[in-house]
């Protein structure tokens, strides 16, 4: 896991690039879900609120909401996931990215977990 990421309690990760937040789900989430078969993402232009449910991630045996880590407008959704949802399992922090959001308030990043806190959260046992 990269150092410069922030995380949510619902296992989303955020990487900041200027005023954009790149969002995906962590390898922990991908492992919990199993083989991912479908990802439903909000359309470009949609306004998201921090921690609101904005999409759905389906695996063979489970379904999970995707929560927005920050408020903002959807600038891009990863079109590759429509034909290759398995990218989320194979490369959750890279090719498995889900959204690019233009942040409404970068200060909201402070509400998110840093790496150590997220690792604590996902410690098995």
């Amino acid at each position: 896991m990269a150092q410069d990421l922030r995380y949510t309690k619902e296992h989303e990760w955020v990487r900041v690039e200027g005023d954009l937040a790149i969002v995906g789900v962590t390898d922990y989430a991908a492992r919990q879900l199993g083989d991912i078969v479908f990802v439903e993402l909000p359309e470009v232009g949609r306004k998201l609120s921090q921690f609101g449910a904005v999409g759905v991630i389906e695996s063979v045996k489970a379904v999970s909401d995707l929560f927005a880590p920050v408020s903002g407008d959807v600038v891009e959704a990863n079109g590759e996931l429509a034909s290759s949802p398995e990218l989320v399992n194979a490369d959750p922090f890279g090719k498995g990215w889900m959204l690019r959001i233009r942040m409404a308030d970068p200060g909201q990043l402070n509400n998110l977990l840093e790496r150590a806190a997220y690792e604590e959260l996902t410690r098995e046992g």
């Binding site: 078969v37 479908f38 389906e58 695996s59 063979v60 045996k61 489970a62 379904v63």
Partner: protein, 457 residues
């Protein structure tokens, strides 16, 4: 207990292994205050007594009358091989195929059913079955609202009354609105869905419509302007759901061909007994883009770890056990064995056979129309029908009752099924199928002629 294997010795052995003296101890969690009152039911019956009782009850039904009754459930010839295969315990006593490795029989037959119904309807996706035509129509309508994020559906008044009523019940729970499209009152299109009215209803900007539902043939047997209705629906941003009868699809244009997004209907005519209303077969299908909206099980083709072709329930994340309160439908148990019966029927009749069934029904119906007109009961509506139509009969209910006494089940008294419709007040809905004979038509026409002559006196 008639069907269990346990002897007193078996029970004693089990009690000992558990470490209790009597089975009553195992029920100690039930507080004494809540112990049930005695079950006031008769004693057990041996198979001799039971079969006598059942034969007696069945014998009190009258199924010997010459029947022209359709109205959503139809008499058809079913090849003998179908029931023999349905009696294979490996099919009818199997559980839902959640363990695909030992359920390939069930899974493959469901896939084949989906494929055959896909051929008939032209829909890309067919659910493994819904309960019946009425609930399938209700769920199809709910699909159109979910897919369009709209809260209103328009349903033709000519859709089967049970289906409209069921849709209303489902819609009440979902807090959605279903408005009825009226029928044309006069002229060559009398009795069919009023397209001008439909267009007006679709044009209300404050109440956008998610789905338009029309049946072909309609409840009163008329062929409907499906392509035009679909065009109007799509122009207004709504989806089009066609309610269809599967035997008719052997000869009539398929829902896909006239632009339907959803197809629903009743599969009973495909080899399933009348059985006083069930178990029947809800047909529900849709175009591919709507696949995630369709409720019910779906079986897909895949491979196993050795590369063998295999079948498995798929897209399970739509279903209630996974989505729970977010599931689009709560359906769990479906009508799988009825879908199997339908597949076996279609396979044993074949495509040419199915066309013959539909065409023969049409031919017999035309003979019926002539004979009844000759007896004094003319068709209520002018437009084309396949094998079912309404005839005008004064005092239809009384005439119908007297026909019963003459051994004729003269169709359905329309006023009883659609009491709020004055245009159907004095009418019988009659149908013919490939099992209707010329003799039967003659008996009906003669009896009706006599009854109408009595009426006139």
């Amino acid at each position: 207990m008639p069907y269990g294997p346990h002897t007193p010795e078996d029970r004693a052995a089990m009690l000992e292994a558990i470490g209790v003296a009597s089975v009553d101890e195992l029920f100690s969690d039930i507080p004494a205050a809540l112990w049930a009152s005695e079950l006031k039911l008769p004693p057990p019956e041996s198979e001799v007594e039971l079969t006598r009782r059942l034969r007696d009850l069945a014998g009190r039904n009258r199924v010997d009358l010459v029947s022209f009754l359709g109205a959503g459930a139809y008499r058809h010839f079913v090849p003998a091989v179908v029931d023999q295969l349905l009696l294979r315990g490996e099919f009818y006593t199997a559980y839902t195929p959640y363990q695909p490795e030992i359920s390939q029989g069930t899974l493959q037959t469901i896939y084949e059913y989906q494929s055959m119904m896909g051929e008939l309807t032209g829909m890309d996706v067919i659910s493994a079955s819904h309960y019946d035509g009425a609930s399938a129509t209700a769920e199809g309508a709910l699909m159109t609202c979910r897919a369009t994020h709209r809260e209103r559906v328009l349903i033709s008044h000519a859709v089967h009354p049970h289906y409209r009523q069921t849709l209303c019940t489902y819609f009440a729970g979902a807090d959605l609105v279903a408005d009825e499209i009226p029928l044309v009152a006069e002229g060559p299109a009398a009795g069919t869905t009023d397209l001008a009215a439909l267009e007006r209803m679709l044009a209300d900007p404050d109440r956008p419509v998610g789905g338009v539902v029309v049946a072909n043939p309609s409840f009163v047997g008329l062929l409907e302007p499906m392509a035009e209705a679909a065009r109007l629906a799509h122009a207004a941003g709504a989806l089009f759901a066609a309610v269809v009868e599967p035997v008719s699809l052997a000869v009539l244009a398929s829902p896909a061909s006239y632009g339907a997004d959803v197809a629903c209907g009743e599969g009973q005519p495909l080899g399933i007994p009348l059985a006083y209303g069930g178990p029947y077969l809800g047909i529900l299908g849709c175009r591919e883009p709507l696949v995630r909206q369709i409720p019910g099980r779906l079986v897909g083709l895949t491979t196993d770890i050795d590369g063998k072709r295999a079948f498995v329930m798929t897209l399970r994340a739509r279903e209630q056990d996974i989505r729970r309160e977010r599931a689009s439908s709560n359906i769990c148990t479906n009508q799988a064995l009825c879908a199997l019966a339908a597949s076996m029927y279609l396979a044993s009749i074949g495509p040419h056979g199915l066309r013959d069934v539909a065409a023969l029904g049409a031919a017999r119906a035309a003979e019926l129309e002539r004979a009844l007109a000759g007896a004094g009961a003319a068709r209520l509506h002018p437009g084309p029908y396949l094998n079912e139509f309404a005839v005008r009969v004064l005092n239809a209910a009384a005439v119908h009752r007297r026909l019963l006494a003459r051994g004729v089940l003269g169709g359905l008294v329309l006023a009883e099924a659609m009491p709020d419709d004055p245009s159907l007040a004095d009418a019988l809905l009659v149908c013919a199928t490939e099992v209707t004979t010329a003799d039967e038509i003659e008996v009906f026409a003669a009896a009706l002629g006599e009854e109408l002559a009595e009426e006139a006196r």
